[in-house]
Symmetry: C2
Subunit: 139 residues, 2 copies
DNA sequence: CTATGTGCAAACCGTTTGCACACAT
DNA sequence: ATGTGTGCAAACGGTTTGCACATAG
């Protein structure tokens, strides 16, 4: 555990909300730590389970310190489309509908992004990279 | 409606699954249509409501022809983490849990990405760009 | 001392944009 | 003819990587 990693982790705790690598680098002071180092540390921390990578679909990676509830559930977020404020949702909101969120948080025009990821039957039976009909993700 | 747009739209119908601009360009033949044109057409089609932009969090934009159900609900997707196969989910799965998906489609290790987007109370009352505590998305 | 981490700068990759030419009407 | 669409190539922005130097153990 080097000093850079300490500093970066501290900053992440201090920020207490999903932050981009650039924001993290600025929080520690650009002279204290290089952007590339932030990226490398984030990858490391993620593998260690210390942080979660969050994707809000704007092309920027965001990270926050992992604080899963006892059930292992990651919390979700409610974002303001205008000011980018982030409300952390307590508990699991799967099954709640947007109107309930609107009532509770006073947001309007709520939309969501929801996708599921898993391993399909063919891949389970074929080691890996089955699927003649597979769509290549890269290239 | 130009020939390029016809060809691109045809390709999108033919592909019948969320496709990246590169895939679309290849489907119409690189000599038939430039990548930049695909991007521009996608932006146009999206504004016209002809296609939906889909984000699977891998940094690639994907598009599919819009076929919302009568309730105006967009369908969601179930992705295989290994072969990238895409299963289109019928109806609204909000409220279904992953274990139910696993049973129905035979996928395992199902995870999801779920975020909500709306306009917060402060922004509703402040024209736009309220929030002193706003997090700047770009820059 | 030796392996690993870091800073710097260049490379990458998807996406966007400026510009001159081509096409639709 | 005139305005819009297109191809090409360069620009852009976030992320990754190669390499030489610095640091941890």
């Amino acid at each position: 555990m080097t000093r850079s990693r300490q500093v970066i982790l501290d900053a992440l705790v201090r920020l207490r909300c999903p932050s981009t690598p650039k924001e993290i680098a600025e929080a520690v002071g650009t002279r204290a730590c290089d952007l590339a180092t932030v990226y490398r540390c984030m990858t490391l921390f993620e593998e260690m389970g210390l942080v979660h990578r969050i994707d809000f679909g704007d092309g920027l990676a965001r990270f926050e310190i992992a604080d899963d509830d006892p059930t292992g559930h990651q919390h979700h977020h409610l974002l303001c489309r205008q000011c980018n404020r982030i409300v952390k949702l307590d508990g699991c909101v799967l099954g709640e509908v947007e109107s309930a969120l609107a009532r509770r948080y006073g947001f309007v025009e709520i939309k969501h992004r929801l996708e599921f990821f898993g391993v399909c039957p063919d891949c389970q039976h074929a080691g890996r990279g089955a699927a003649s009909q597979a769509r290549k993700r890269a290239s």
